[in-house]
């Protein structure tokens, strides 16, 4: 076995994953080849370094959150707003805490602006009276006080006058 084929199998050799005859061939090459021995030792160094790296513990409440998500999927949204709310809740769940706070703040601010704007736009006082009067008018009533010799008067004469029952001119 030459160095090239040994180098190709060195990783599997280090893991003890080579079949017997290959393992023996690699081992006998290693006895004679200092370069390949250095490569093997460097692989062991990589093993040691990687194994020093510890993962943090499972986040607290992980199981509860999984069960909650599972329960949500079971309550299949039939005719409810689940199809709309679930993706939003999931998206919120994926965010970090500052991002969640920012998202909630944005929604609250938008709601507040909406309420304030609605207050300003809602008809109140004189505006309200005009809007109510306008709703009570029926088309032709706008022409009610047209001068006798005018286009509006001619139009009124030609147009059929709706009866009071039909909500016509009062």
């Amino acid at each position: 076995m030459n160095c090239r084929s040994v180098q190709k199998r060195l990783s599997a050799f280090a893991d003890g994953e080579l079949p017997g005859f290959r393992r023996r061939a690699v081992a006998s090459h290693l006895e004679e080849c200092p370069a390949c021995r250095t490569s093997l030792s460097s692989l062991h160094d990589v093993d040691r370094i990687l194994q020093e790296d510890a993962a943090p513990p499972v986040p607290e409440g992980f199981c509860v959150r999984v069960l909650a998500r599972a329960a949500r999927t079971e309550r299949a949204p039939q005719g409810s707003f689940g199809w709309l709310l679930d993706p939003m809740i999931d998206a919120l769940g994926k965010m970090s805490i500052p991002m969640r706070l920012a998202a909630c703040g944005t929604v609250l601010a938008a709601s507040l602006v909406g309420v304030l704007m609605a207050e300003r736009l809602l008809p109140t006082g004189r505006t309200h009276a005009i809007v109510v009067a306008a709703h009570q008018l029926d088309g032709l009533e706008w022409f009610g006080s047209a001068p006798p010799v005018s286009v509006a008067a001619a139009y009124l004469a030609a147009a059929p006058v709706p009866s009071r029952a039909e909500g016509g001119v009062r």
């Binding site: 990783s11 994953e17 692989l43 370094i49 990687l50 499972v58 992980f62 199981c63 069960l67």
Partner: protein, 200 residues
Amino acid sequence: MPPGPIRRRYLPFGRAPLSPGAVKPTDEERMLAVAGGDHEAFRELVLAHEHAAWSVAYRFLRDAAEAEDAAQEAFLRIFQAASRYRPTASFRTYLYRVVARICIDRAEKKHPVYTDTVPDVADPSPTPAEDLAAGERTDLVRRALDALPPKQRMAVILRYYEDLDYSGISRVLEVTVKAVEGLLGRARAALQVSLAPMRD
């Protein structure tokens, strides 16, 4: 001999009760119980395997929030597919497969890897070996792992941290044992270069 603690025995629909001596349900039996609507069995599965799912996802994604989401998604997919579950492999292998698929999909969406352009060896870090503090060492390991293509990274994680043999890794990644040998060989060659500053 004093009697042991009384343990639940799951009896999913259509299954005959087991002998009174055999008390502890296996993961595969728990899965069948989940398919029958047993939430307690699902809770026990999550508790028994949350560490495995979380640690693979965290080591791969290196972001706690994303790792938690990936691990949760894996359990959720398992829960939703419980009725289609067939105990052909161990539950742990099945879980690793789902987690690996989710993680690799996410990595490929984030940084698409085109096989023609993947370098065989990652760029070595220029950090000097002399003054590598513990934090810097961890950071270097993370960067070295992150520089690997997703499948190589997952193979390394399963081998080093989950202690799976090549056959186990091949079942998780749904590739041949020979392919696992190739993945780990290339990954280690890259890591030898990128971790060189840490070697004494």
